[in-house]
Subunit: 112 residues, 2 copies
DNA sequence: GAAACATTCAACCAAATGGTTGACACGAGC
DNA sequence: GCTCGTGTCAACCATTTGGTTGAATGTTTC
């Protein structure tokens, strides 16, 4: 299924909205892991972790590879780029607000 | 209620996971608007937009101010910064092929 | 082929989500 | 005051979410 840009952002941001899933991404960023290794640190069932992995996979944030009876999971970081690009657009707004705050704190000299 | 960092990221990413809400943020980024003005472009009820605004407000992505009988809504862009910081961590992983990534991880003595 | 292991699938559950409609609350203006 | 306009709240509904448990699938090993 080919997703529109909006749908991709939907699924990526949704995938990132759960701390377990963000944590999993950190865990596998440095080095790929098996599903069992990924699940070990978490206090939930393996099936629950498997579901989280499915969410991450459908958002294309991770890729799986079958190696014997193990399923290897690795980060697919490029998928995060559109999300970061989306956020980058707003940098100018928070900088502007910080500038405004700074100006205010400095005592309302006229600027710009 | 004071949120943990994780809970803040949860709510911010969740707020961003809906294209209507992302669109609303764009709409008000340049200039504050009333709730009615925000709602106008969308084919859903005013109450539905009001709910989206509530999600954005609880994520602290927007702020409201009452002006007469109008509710003014404006962007609170700084709240996006932690989300961008979170994503920035992964920049080093994208644009890198698996082999290059492995090399990087195995020989971290030289930075780039 | 049977046993043991790694993982997913299916059914279920409670809570949250995104939408609707209708009633309510609050200002503004006559 | 009464009414109009702006917006929220409450109740409802269908769907999704994040978790559980137990059965099913696939692989390795004996």
């Amino acid at each position: 299924m080919v997703k529109s840009n909006a749908a991709r952002l939907d699924s990526v941001f949704h995938a990132l909205s759960d701390s377990t899933r963000r944590s999993i991404l950190r865990d596998i960023a440095a080095k790929e892991k098996t599903v069992g290794e990924v699940a070990k640190p978490y206090r939930m069932s393996l099936a629950a972790v498997s579901k989280h992995l499915k969410v991450l996979e459908e958002a294309e944030l991770i890729a799986r590879e079958r190696r014997g009876s193990f399923h290897i999971v690795r980060l697919n970081a490029e998928t995060l780029k559109p999300a970061e690009d989306w956020l980058a657009y707003y940098e100018k707004f928070w900088n502007r607000q910080l500038d405004a705050l700074q100006t205010y704190l400095e005592g309302e000299e006229d600027d710009d």
